[in-house]
Every structure is written in C-alpha cells, then in structure tokens.
Amino acid sequence: MIVDKILQLLVDILVAFAGLFDLVTILPWGLDNIVMTGVGLFRGFANIFPPINAIFVTFMIYFGFRLGIMLFGVVPIFGKLVNPHKKA
C-alpha cells in the first residue's frame, strides 16, 4: 500500500506536469506525412524483397545495443566500466 501510494503520487505529479504541454497527434512540419509515406514504401519494398526486412531488423537490434551502451555510460559509476579512460 505504501509503494502503491508513492507510485500513485509520482504518476499524479507527472500527469499534472504533462498537462502543461501540448497534446501530440501528428508530427510537426509535415514530418508525419513524410514518415508515413516512407514507412509505407519501405514495407511495400520489404514485401517484394524480403531480405531488406531482415537487414532492417538486424540494424535496429544493433542500434538498440549502441543506444543502451551510451545510456549506460552516462551513469557516473557505470561510465568507468564502459570507458576506462573517462576522467571523473
């Protein structure tokens, strides 16, 4: 119950803070249409050329790995593990 109340408080604060910002329904500057068209075409291309899909999935896994390592390195204690040459 205590943990529950803490979670509830945090969520309420976040929700109240988020209420200050605009609701996002589409990406700005016409990006929404561009992304939608691009993804649609990519999926269409992947349908007729299946190997491209496997390459994309592999790339996304690698990209996720690199992103994770970068985020891991931002933490001061773990940063030393990732980069021994990093100055404190």
């Binding site: 988020a18 993804v39 291309f45 349908n47 007729i48 299946p50 592999t58 980069n83 040459h85």
Partner: protein, 475 residues
Amino acid sequence: MTTFRQILKKRGATIVYTVFLFVGLIVGPSFAFGYTWVEGYVTQVDATHFDFTDNNYINSTFGSCGSFYAVNNCISSYVYTDIMNPYGFGVYKGDYPDTSNLVGGATGQFLLSTFNNYDFTGYFTSAGNYWIGFFMASNDGTGSNTAVGYASTSPAIYIPLSATDSTHWDTSASPFSTTTRYTSFTYSTETQYARLRGYMQEGERIDFYQETSVMGREDQEWYIATTSDFFDYSFFFHGLPNASSTINKVIGLYSYIRQIDYGPTYDPFSNPFDKVVTLITSTSTIISTFSYDLPPIAGLQQGYSFAECSLGFGLTDSLPWFEFKGFDLGLCIADIAVALFVPLPDQVTGYITDLKENVYSRAPIGYITRFYELLSTTTATALPTIDYTFSTSSRSALAPILGGERIHFEPFEYATGTSITSITSDGANGLPEKNLWEIVEPFYTIVLGLILVIMIIHDLTNIHAHGEDSWRAKV
C-alpha cells in the same frame, strides 16, 4: 363583403366580454380548486359484498391519507375537481396490487350506486391474498379517455383481502377487522431493514429483534400504539459480519405484540415495576443465507485476503453454529505487511495506462510516441511504377506506330522480387515447391546474425580500438 376587421370593430366589446366570462367562470375555478383531497370509504357488508361510499367531500387541509397499503379508508391521491365517481375496479392476486398480477375487473362510467352491496366473488378463484382497487373518475378534460373524461392521474383506493376459498373472503383478516394482528412481514438483506405491518390496539407494544447463536439478542426496538390503528414500522437489523459470501448461517428475526399493564396507578405504594404482560401475537422469520463483507481494515482491503486476521468462527463451514477455529497473529501481520509494501498488479497496470494516456501523448515524449506509432501501424503501400500510353494525336513521326501503345514497367518488382521469389524449385519427388528466397533465407539469417554478434563483441571488447578514436573513448 364584411371583413374580420369590420366584425371586430362592430362586435369588439361582445368578444372581449365573452373571453372574460370564459376565463373567469370556467378556467379560473379549475385552477383554483386543483390539487385537493377527496375522501371516500369502503365498508364490508359480509363475506362476499362491499359498499363503496364517496362522500364527495373536498378538503384541501388533508395532509395525506397515508399509503394505500395502510388501508385507512381514504383515497390517497389528489384530484382536479369535485366530480368523483367510481370509474372501474381491478382485482389483483398477490402481496401488492400490480398490473402484472391483475386477475379481473371492469371499467366503465359507473354510478356510485353500482358498487353498493357489490359481489366480488366472481373475480377470485382460490384462497390467497387479494387486492381490490377502485379507480375514480375526475373530469379535468385532459384524460386520455374523453368519453368519460377521467383524469390521467386517476386516484384509487386499494383494499387488501384474504380469500379462505374460491368463494368467500376471510372476514377475520379483513382490513376492517380491529383484531390485533400482523398483515405483512418482509425484510431486505440489502438495506438491512425489516418491515412489519398490521393492526394494534391502543396501549399495545410491538417489539422487534434479531437473534443468533453467536451474538444472542440484538437490535431490539419497540413502539407503543397511542391509538388503535394500522401500523407500518421498519426496524434495522445487523445480520452477521462474514468474510465469505458463501457462508450459510442462521439469523432469526422476531417480533411480538404484547399488552403491558402496569397495574393501578392510584396506589402510591404499589411496586412501579409490577406489570402484567400478555402476549397477543408474535411472528418470526429465519434468514439462512445472509452475509455481508467485513468492513475494510483502515483502508487496507485492496484485493488481499485478511482471512488470517479474522477471529475464525468457522467461516467456511456450513454448520448452523459458530466454532472457534483459532487466530494466528504472525500470519495476520504477514498479510498486512504484504498489503503495505507490494502493490497489486492491477494497480500498477492502471498507473502505466495513466502514463500512456496523459504523459506519453504530450510533448516532448509525444513526438517519440507518434513516431513509434507510425513505424508500427503504417501499412505497406504499393511501390511506384512507370505507366504511360502513347497518344494517337501526337505530331511525332512515330505517332502512327506507337499511338495507343502502353508502356508498363515495375522497376522495383523486376529488380528484386521477380528473381528472388519467382525462381522456384521443381517440387519433384513429392517435395514442396520453394522459391529462391525460401531456400536461401536460413543461411541469410545466420549470416546476418553472425555479423550482428561480431559487431557487438567488437564494440564490447574494443578489439580494434585506436586510443582516443575508439567509440568507448567518446562516451
């Protein structure tokens, strides 16, 4: 020709007077006498006959005639005018007069004398509880039945009766009998109220209580009748708190009516506590399957079971008594500790949903959410093709040759899919027919997977690190 304007000029005063008289004499009194009470009586002639008497007495000072089931011989509804005649009657079988249990009746513009010494025995067929409802006619001009002009809110008087057989009413249980008795005993485990109705003589006392083998006699309450009249009392009862909704325990609801005589009051030396108690009548009912949830323990009850914290009076058995099963403080504390620190999965899911709906959808995280949404939900679109039909009206020298001819070219299809998915094996010897991609895919996947693993190992071990140029140095 005489115009309307000329008529108005000539007969204007007459029209104005006519309108004034109509409003003053017809419409005005209708409103002035609206919403008054009208009194009527029903008397029992014998076991088969009744008289209805409408004294046509309007009295706006009547507060209320009471509820119809109290049977106080009074029309308990308001009417518009003083025109009151019985319009019809209905005979109902059951505890309450309701259209669903209507067994007979008649309608029509009856005269009052119609219901004098009227025989109703043709309208009931067996022993049981009945109601006769008399419906009044009050002409307010707005009734749906314009032929008789009764009001849409027809007032009625209802009389409860008991039939001893198929031809005779029970005169001893008649509402006009002044015998002390119960006429109805109902209860609700939802509201936890019992309702007792009947007739009491002046000075008699009605008691009510619940009794269980666990708690004994509880919720005792009583009233003393100040006049001989019909009574209608509601009494609260607690029932028993149970942790299980399937519990089957016996709870008795009891009531009795007694005449309590405190002895001669003129004797100053008599013991004031000397009294003669005479039981007149009693009634009871047993509730065998009544339970309600334990109240929350300081708001801790959030889906966790606190069975260990109960005093364990045999909560799960089906015996009609309560057996003490023991109490474990350690388990009780453990239960409460879990409830204090471990949030329920449903609640955590609720918070995540809350975040998704209210935080993830708003800037700046909302842009990422939208981008992810586009990646995951956008469907495939057809790739562009070259499609052209030559015109026959072209001035080109080739127009007579190419006119009307069509060029259709799918570059992506030809460059990729055609070769990889259209080259198929022959499927001989009963083997499944496969295209080139289906044959190559397992090897292709392995190669890609190996490349991925090597890249990750390369990054983690920094095999080809060149000092400050290494990505690890840049983190």
